[in-house]
């Protein structure tokens, strides 16, 4: 028998928690209320540089219907039990499936996994939170629909609802997921259910096609937030184009990042290149399939000399642009000429597609899969680069301007270098913005290195904020600090909304730094 003290939700008496658990067992089957430590183990694995002891749930609830979720919310309100909602729960590098703080009960919606509707005419889907990209992909294949998904890199094992609610990204033209979300069903903290957009109209056929509905548009309130539990979500699917041409452009000089962004921006804004393009640094492109110690054994950041050897030996550029064209073969030819002309001007770019691109040493194959919405987990190879299972995504936003990219790259390299970490990074180019995604990889088995990673991440947040750069998303360990960088007036609005919608503060306390 375990002698460890029982973990309780913060501020909840043991007797009240037991009564609440009893209610949960009435609402769900007894085996859908998990309290044993071996059952809860999967909810405790984190990759970020936080203390394991800070992220242990007191239980997990596994509903199968929205009505059960309503009853759970009412019970939580009655006993002030805090719940942390996850859908497919693969928020890896952002907090995974662990609660925001020890003692919270996980509301795990993975078993709510119905694909309610896929409409191949208007190219929409309505799904529950537990549906994975793989499940939806298989379903579409089985039906023979000519529709594409837009998965993030963990594709198969993650899901559209959780990813979109954390405002994640993918790599097709539908890469900015929240832009392609349409209509939600949400259970509020008091157990009431609301449908957003056109969903409030009885028998509306336009819930999944018209985002705005009537009056204030509220879907955004339920993303990166703790104002409700999303139990259904609509999304738009891309019709499969008649032709698709993924391509690779390599540049060899670190300074070239400025030119790349300047050439890319007009092509991206005018939709000549319509997808979420990535500009991948050497160490990321190599890191998905090369092991660091084959090139460098030191514990400090990998030196320039080793990076040059990787570039030479592996056939990888300093910057590797992965993008694609979509449309009829004729459209692709026209756009290809425009892209080629634009990138050829300075004579620095090596532009490739097809076999030539495949033969280069980077990630062309897996990037090509992701840019057409296929399932692929090759990017997990990044965790073999340094080993030890530690990972945190530092992802500041910038304008798509070469000067900002240069500034951000230099600042990140300088801070990472100070703490002995590598610059494993890529820029994801949105319509006119960029997410500078840096994977802070470290050995989580080594307490000193973990502490260094923590300090490094904290400094990155502060130093980037000082130059006007904020993060698009962050992990649970740093949510409070990042919320601080966006200023008090915004925090006050977030808090006012929290107090109005969830006065007992039962939903995901601390998410994005928001509490009642």
């Amino acid at each position: 028998m375990s002698t460890a003290p029982r973990i309780l939700p913060k501020g909840v008496a043991e007797a009240d928690f037991d009564t609440a658990l009893g209610r949960f067992r009435e609402i769900l089957d007894a085996d859908s209320v998990l309290t044993e430590s071996d059952q809860l183990a999967p909810y405790t694995k984190i990759m970020m540089a936080g203390d394991d002891a800070d992220y242990i749930p007191s239980g997990a609830l596994l509903p199968t219907t929205a009505e059960q979720v309503q009853e759970i919310a009412r019970t939580c309100n009655e006993f002030k039990v805090p719940i942390w909602t996850i859908s497919t729960g693969k928020n890896l590098g952002y907090g995974s499936a662990a609660p925001g703080e020890t003692g919270q009960v996980i509301l795990d919606l993975h078993r709510m996994n119905r694909i309610i509707n896929v409409n191949p005419d208007v190219c929409t889907a309505l799904i529950e939170p537990g549906v994975t990209y793989q499940q939806l992909y298989d379903y579409i294949q089985e039906k023979g629909y000519k529709l594409w998904l837009d998965p993030p890199a963990p594709s198969a094992i993650a899901g559209p609802v959780g990813n979109t609610l954390d405002r994640g990204v993918g790599y097709t033209p539908y890469g900015e997921h929240f832009m392609f979300q349409c209509g939600m069903e949400v259970v509020l903290a008091n157990g009431e259910m609301v449908r957003t957009g056109m969903g409030g109209i009885e028998n509306s056929s336009s819930w999944q096609v018209f985002k705005w509905g009537y009056g204030p548009y509220i879907d955004g309130l339920f993303t990166q937030s703790n104002y409700g539990i999303v139990t259904k979500m609509g999304l738009w699917l891309m019709p499969e184009p008649p032709a698709y041409r993924p391509f690779l452009i390599q540049y060899q000089d670190p300074e070239d990042i400025e030119e790349i962004v300047e050439v890319l921006r007009p092509l991206r804004i005018s939709q000549i290149i319509p997808n979420a393009v990535v500009i991948v640094h050497t160490l990321w492109d190599a890191g998905t399939h090369v092991v660091r110690k084959d090139y460098y054994d030191g514990t400090d950041s990998i030196p320039r000399e080793a990076i040059e050897r990787i570039k030479r030996d592996e056939g990888i550029g300093e910057w590797n642009v992965y993008a694609a064209l979509y449309g009829t073969p004729e459209q692709i030819e026209v756009n290809w000429n425009i892209v080629e002309q634009a990138f050829s001007k300075s004579g620095k770019a090596k532009i490739m597609y097809g076999e030539e691109a495949e033969k280069r040493g980077g990630g062309f194959e897996y990037r090509s899969a992701l840019m057409k919405g296929d399932m692929n987990l090759q990017e997990f190879g990044l965790y073999n680069w340094r080993g030890g299972g530690g990972s945190m995504w530092f992802a500041p936003v910038s304008q798509a301007k070469g000067s900002e990219t240069k500034d951000q790259t230099a600042l990140a390299q300088q801070i990472l270098g100070k703490y002995g970490f590598d610059y494993v990074a890529e820029y994801i180019v949105g319509w006119r913005d960029m997410h500078h995604v840096i994977d802070l990889l470290y050995n989580r088995q080594d307490p000193d290195e973990t502490q260094r990673a923590y300090d490094c991440f904290a400094e990155l947040i502060d130093e980037f904020a000082k130059r006007g750069y904020g993060l698009y998303r962050t992990n649970t360990e740093f949510m409070e600090q990042v919320a601080g960088t966006f200023g008090e007036p915004l925090r006050n609005v977030h808090t006012a909304l929290k107090n109005a919608l969830d006065p007992n503060g039962i939903l995901s306390p601390g998410k994005s730094g928001i509490r009642q």
Binding site: T64, N119, G381
Partner: protein, 126 residues
């Protein structure tokens, strides 16, 4: 009719269905109807392997170590425990997989199939 409704549903007991019917009164008028509950079907080990494991552990992916080779019977217990612990707790870069994603029943069957090397050929083809 091109629109579709499907669902890999879990088994709902009769009592659960009754209480759902009671809860029905609380719902908004246009809640999408819950399709009749069907018996939950545990996925075949090969399907679990294809949907989850193969993406990293297939030989041509080489993101995670090879897991498809058969093990001698004397090592079955130890290997089975190792897989179970790794799946549920994660290990290094490998994420943990919860009961809600891979049920205990599915995991047991997967472990059996892996121990006997049932996917060895599949992995090579991939």
């Amino acid at each position: 009719m091109q629109n579709t409704t499907i669902g890999p549903l879990r088994l709902l007991s009769n009592t659960r269905l009754k209480s759902l019917a009671l809860l029905g009164g609380l719902l908004l008028p246009m809640v999408v109807s819950v399709p009749n509950a069907v018996a939950s079907e545990a996925r075949e080990p090969a399907e679990v392997y294809r949907q989850i494991c193969a993406h990293c552990h297939a030989l041509d992916k080489a993101v995670g170590p090879e897991i498809t080779m058969a093990f001698p019977e004397t090592a079955h217990e130890a290997w089975g425990n190792y897989i179970r612990t790794t799946v549920r707790n994660g290990r290094g870069a490998m994420p943990s997989f919860r009961e809600a994603k891979v049920s205990d029943e599915e995991l047991d069957a997967l472990i059996q199939a892996l121990m006997y090397g049932e996917f060895a050929d599949t992995a090579e083809e991939e």
